[in-house]
Symmetry: C2
């Protein structure tokens, strides 16, 4: 394994000069630069990032910890992070927690030990502990994605859950729906709470007071959507419209509706939150509010790298990106 010293010897300079050439830092004459580059190429020199990181206290690596890599929302976020990071010379290490707190803790531990320069975290649960731990043990900034964490002094980038669900609900109200069933994620996750609240508030403003009665809490999964839909239909009379608060819940709901022979939108209207890839269904027909996943990743990464660059402790920022309403064919007017 050839080292910087070998390259230096071959080029007839000191190791530090090789370092300057490789990192484009400090002054190096053109002729020296060429000699060094030639020597490095001839020797097939590969810098040792472990040594560099140890000495410089910088790894040029961001950690991205997210909850579900099978959800296209998150793969899109990841792509945004990747691109932003690459543009500024950072690598990204991606870890998937499966919404599992224990896994999350394991990953966070390893990432701290590996001395990440910064952390992008989509917390599995709404507790501030993992964030505190990073802030305490790793002298590195944290940006939280997607979910609000109470009591955490930390930057946040997320989509407008409240606004998106408010807009979806207004749309359903316009169509004449007066009873809307909400299939929600876990009660302990901020996005769930906000999406439910946005819906209830919109109904309240339309003088519908019992909006909160038709809420089911569950998991952000296909299975969760399926069983919540089942429970929702058990009520009499059941809602004329369903708000599935995430894309997997929407799929589960659709599966159950199809199983019991209810057609969308003829028999019941359905709206969702976050889109499904075009490829998954033969034709997109679901009306949804879409968060700008790519931008969430991109802006999160940029904010994080800004923090890394000027470790000046500005106050925590909260960036909320608007959700877009996409109207398709999954709803019908009442009457």
């Amino acid at each position: 394994m050839t080292t910087i010293q070998d390259v230096a010897t071959r080029a007839g300079v000191a190791p530090i000069t090789v370092s300057r050439v490789l990192n484009r830092s400090g002054y190096v004459s053109e002729s020296t630069r060429q000699r060094v580059e030639a020597a490095a190429a001839e020797l097939d020199y590969v810098p040792n990032l472990l040594a560099r990181g140890l000495r410089s206290n910088r790894t040029n690596t961001l950690a991205l910890v997210l909850t579900d890599i099978t959800n296209p929302f998150w793969t899109t976020v990841a792509r945004g992070v990747e691109d932003a990071a690459r543009a500024r010379g950072f690598s990204v290490i991606l870890c998937n927690t499966d919404e599992n707190e224990a896994k999350q803790e394991q990953y966070v531990d390893v990432l701290i030990r590996k001395r990440m320069d910064g952390f992008l975290l989509a917390p599995a649960r709404s507790t501030p502990e993992p964030i505190r731990k990073i802030q305490k043990q790793a002298d590195a900034p944290v940006v939280v994605l997607d979910r609000r964490i109470a009591d955490a002094q930390v930057d946040l980038v997320c989509g407008d859950s409240y606004g998106g669900s408010y807009a979806l609900t207004q749309y359903l109200l316009q169509l004449g729906h007066r009873c809307i069933g909400i299939l929600s994620g876990p009660q302990a996750v901020s996005t769930s709470v906000e999406r439910v609240q946005g819906c209830i508030d919109a109904m309240q403003e339309a003088n519908i007071e019992n909006g909160a009665e038709f809420v089911q809490f569950g998991e952000y999964t296909v299975e969760g959507g399926y069983s919540m839909m089942q429970q929702m239909l058990a009520r009499q009379p059941h809602p004329t419209a369903i708000f599935a608060t995430n894309n997997f819940i929407a799929i589960g709901a659709l599966q159950h509706l199809r199983n019991v022979g209810l057609r969308v939108p003829q028999d019941i209207s359905l709206v969702g939150f976050d889109d499904l890839p075009l490829s998954w269904n033969t034709e997109p027909f679901l009306t949804v509010a879409v968060q700008p996943a790519y931008q969430i990743g991109q802006q999160g990464a940029d904010l994080l790298m800004d923090r890394i660059a000027n470790s000046a402790q500005a106050n925590p920022q909260e960036i909320v990106l608007p959700a877009e309403l996409i109207i398709r064919q999954s709803c019908q007017p009442i009457g």
Copy 2:
């Protein structure tokens, strides 16, 4: 940031003893162990893996480079790798190349610099260069996943493309199909070649000689499937059955068939390679050959870690795992 020296001082021992406690290596008396562990806990000690890696020349980290993280086949492989790695105390760094050679090269470079202990690689193209590069520059073993690479002296773990497609074809032949259209991946990728060959061979054994005439080569994507299906239907007479050689191609093919109003299986039969998650369609109906993705990941990782442990250079292994035929409702007999 507290170091091993701080812990040592506090526990009244030498740094090396702390190291022994933390790594459970060498002899340490019970009382010393407890003092050290207490000291480490009190000081919130976090080992620096950069330093450890630099000195010991081991990072306990595997690189996993794959081509498409949005494909459930690969996320399942990744899960297999993760689990196998965790079981033996390794971390995994996952990189997604999007089938893009330039991205792949970038990732491989960074991973070598970061001194991975081993590489799991699903090559974007069938050239041996990236493998050679790793073998030359990084003193670390490589295991190739899924795709056979000519001229590369390297371990391989993959599914049985040939056998799976042979079995699918036999099934179609049993149903009386005599003209089967093949929608294939890139000609430069071994899985494509093998799947096409398995199909052609099965037909030949049934005395169908013109099997090779109904092959389209394209990309392993939804768009690829769509346009290949289109071209296939342009032929007169068109095949009575279609073999989509990967899951995304199958989706694209289905989309085009629906667009032109052809029903599966009433108007045309369709089989696929590798499954789709239950959640993606409201009900699974596609007959497919399924590779054991999780096992591919798991066995690949295990083989790799074996190589790392005994760096003895046994001959390259080739592990081919059987594909399973799952018969559903996407095919009808002829006549």
